[in-house]
Structures are given as C-alpha cells and as structure tokens.
C-alpha cells in the first residue's frame, strides 16, 4: 500500500519523462521490451473466486529493467491473502526476455525464460499451464505454503503490430525441476489505443492515452497428455490509461470459460517508468 502511494506521488510529481510502449497485458507478452536503461516498478493484484475455498487476493510486485534494447530482465515478489484463511508470501520469480531478430517483421519472436521459486500457495495466475484448475487453489495456505516448487518456464512470444493494433501469441512450456513432466499453455492478446495520432496539447485523460484490449489464456495439458481435457481457460477484456508521466493504470475483469476455471478474476495494477535509471545508477560509481 505504501509502495502504491509512493508510485502515485511519484507519478503526480515527476515531470513527463519516459513513457513505455509496452502493451498493458497482464498475462500475454508482446515483443515490445523495456527501453534500455529504464526501470519499471509495477504493483499488481488479482482477486479471484473459487468454489472449493475462500476467495483470494494475490498482490505481486515487478521490477523490470531494460538491460539492452534486445534484453529485458524482471524480478517478481508474490504473495496472497485467502479470505477466511491467511496472508502468505509465496515466492519470487526472475524472468528474461530476448529479441533474437534485430529488425521489425510481420511476426516478431521473443524468447522468454523464467525461474520460479514459489510455493503451491501462489495464486497470482500469471500463467495457466497443464491442467491447472480452480481446485488447485483450494488447499489451505498452511499446507500449500509448505510445498516449494522450483520451475523453469519458457515462452515463445510471437507478436505483430498492424495499423495501431497489437496481436500477441504466446506458447508456454513449464517444467518443474522435480520429476514433473513439461506442462503447456497459451496466452493470446490484442489491444489498440483509442486514438492513434497524438493531440498537440499535453493531456492526461484524452483518448490517445486509453488502450482497450482483451486476453485469452489457458492450459494445453502436459507432454504425456497434450489435450484440452481437464484444462482451464479464461477470457479477459483490458482497459489501461497510460499517462504521459510514465504512470500506467490498468484493470482487467476475467471470466472462466469452463467448470475447471475460476468463475471470475479481477486484475488491476499500476506501473511507473523511471527513465534513465541505469545511467543514474552508473553515475554514482
């Protein structure tokens, strides 16, 4: 909460500087990486309903840094509160995204590698893979938080821009470093600003700063049973406001598409882009 207030204050006080061009997806990724040297501080939360347990809120924080123009690294801290149960810290994640091609193409690939050190109590639902379903989240926190999982997650991100629209397709492969099989999933995203050209005057709430879109994501089974059987799927519209000072506010109600899915998810968040962070840090040494 304190961090959120700091971000809001920073967003209101700081002069217009680095505005991100990343798409405001919660689950899917586009090929647009963090600008080199910029640090983006992001605070997100998800509220979810579940049949077999109390509803939950899972906040997480992201620190995203553009190492180069073709490499973005990101660190996550996850937690969750289940109503009628408890609040727990559920782990950390470290992700890296690489652009193998140096130019823009019709379809732009990005390679994604993430290491997860989380517990089974993690409910951030940043990806849905294998036969993940809402009943996984019903285990009491006291038990679920005892079970640590170390996982490697890989994604092939394909993304295109066309006439102001972005179309992103992610193919996910996740491997528990224990003796679990590979699990697969997908995420699709599409979005567009409400106005393509900018207006001459500075403005916060004009149409050019609003982005609307939608995501769809779900599991695709495991390497042993690559199918839709037992998997869960979601569709989620997105609305975002990208303020010129680097603050982005986003919200996304999500709806489960079958009985395995949480019936309703609500994601919201805020990010703040600190331009030239790397240069400022380097100047200290």
């Amino acid at each position: 909460m304190i961090l959120l207030l700091v971000l809001v204050a920073a967003g209101l006080c700081c002069p217009p500087r680095a505005a991100a061009q990343e798409n405001p997806y919660f689950v899917a990724y586009s090929h647009h990486l963090e600008e080199p040297g910029n640090l983006e501080v992001e605070v997100y939360s998800i509220y979810g309903t579940q049949k077999a347990g109390g509803d939950f809120i899972a906040p997480w924080m992201e620190l995203e840094y553009g190492v180069t123009a073709w490499w973005t690294t990101e660190f996550y801290i996850d937690s969750q509160t289940t109503f009628g149960d408890s609040t727990v810290f559920t782990g950390t994640r470290w992700e890296n995204r690489f652009r193998p091609l140096m130019r823009e193409h019709w379809i732009n690939p990005v390679l994604y590698v993430e290491f997860e050190n989380t517990t089974d109590a993690d409910k951030t639902l940043k990806e849905v893979v294998g036969i993940d379903n809402q009943f996984d989240a019903a285990e009491p926190n006291s038990e679920a938080n005892r079970s640590h999982t170390h996982e490697i997650e890989t994604k092939l991100i394909l993304s295109s821009d066309y006439k102001g629209w972005n179309f992103s397709e992610n193919f996910i492969g996740e491997k528990n470093l224990g003796h679990e099989p590979w699990e697969f999933g997908y995420a699709l995203g599409v979005d567009r600003p409400l106005r393509l050209a900018a207006t001459p005057r500075p403005c916060n709430f004009c149409r050019e700063n609003f982005i609307l879109g939608a995501e769809m994501y779900g599991g695709l089974g495991t390497v042993k049973a690559f199918s839709l059987s037992g998997t869960s799927h979601y569709v989620a519209p997105i609305a975002a406001l990208q303020l010129p000072n680097g603050v982005t506010l986003s919200v996304s109600p999500g709806f489960g598409l079958n009985d395995n899915s949480h019936r309703f998810l609500l994601r919201w968040g805020m990010s703040y882009e600190i331009g030239g962070f790397g240069r400022k840090v380097r100047s200290l040494f």
């Binding site: 505005a19 123009a69 470290w94 102001g164 005057r201």
Partner: protein, 137 residues
C-alpha cells in the same frame, strides 16, 4: 543450493545491468547513417502525411519529450551515445528513411524499435525532428 540461487541470479542481473559503467561511449552519428543506408528503397521515398502541419509538429514535440528526450536530450542534441538529431546526417535523411529507422531502431547500438507506438505518432515525431533543422555552424 536453492536458497543461494535467487541471490546469485540477482547478482548476475545487477552486474549485467551495470556492465556499461566503465565504458566511455563516443557519440558517432555516422552509425545512424549506416543503419539508414539499409532501409529498403521503396520506404525511403515515403512522404510524411503530416509534413508542414504545425499541430503535428506540436504533437511530435510532446511525443519526443515523452519517448525520446531521455536519451536524445531536451534539445535533441543527444546524450551519451544517442545521436544528435539536429546533425546534418539526420536532417538530410528523408522522412521515409527516418520512419524506417524509428520503426526498426538499432538494437545493437541501444536504440529500441518504436513500432509499439502507432505509425501516426511516429510521423508526428519525424515532423518535429525535421522542424529542428540543422544548427548554424
């Protein structure tokens, strides 16, 4: 081992992030020329649909301050190794060449591609850059 892994990975990330600390980057605007030279012929001849429109120049200036000034400076003369956008190399480039360069960037040199912002806005930025002209010697 598991407990050490995350701190180790974070340390590696920090080292990578500050890897450029000891380097003294030279400003070399010829790099822009070399990249622009790779632009396909048909894109070089493209006209800026906003050319000569004062509103587009004003919108471009606004966008420049949001997206570009961090590296190229408020006066567009370039900071660090970012190119001086007032240089004759940039000012003599055609709008089509600049549009191609802005869309594709120069990833090895640290210039990100700006395909994530709509094409109309990229043309507005180019209208602003062209309005700067080459400074008097």
């Amino acid at each position: 081992m598991g407990r050490l892994l995350i701190p180790t990975l974070l340390l590696l990330a920090l080292v990578a992030a500050t890897a450029g600390a000891a380097r003294e980057w030279k400003i070399d605007d010829r790099g822009v020329l070399m990249v622009i030279a790779k632009a396909p012929v048909k894109t070089r001849a493209r006209k800026n649909p906003y050319e000569g429109q004062p509103d587009a120049v004003a919108a471009g200036e606004k966008l420049f301050r949001q997206h570009c000034a961090e590296c190229h400076g408020d006066d567009a003369r370039g900071l660090g190794r970012a190119a001086n956008l007032r240089s004759s190399l940039v000012q003599n480039a055609t709008p089509g060449e600049l549009a191609w360069f802005l869309r594709n960037g120069n990833l090895p040199a640290g210039m990100p591609p700006w395909a994530g912002i709509p094409e109309q806005r990229r043309w507005q930025i180019i209208a602003y850059i062209k309005s700067l002209g080459t400074p008097a010697q």
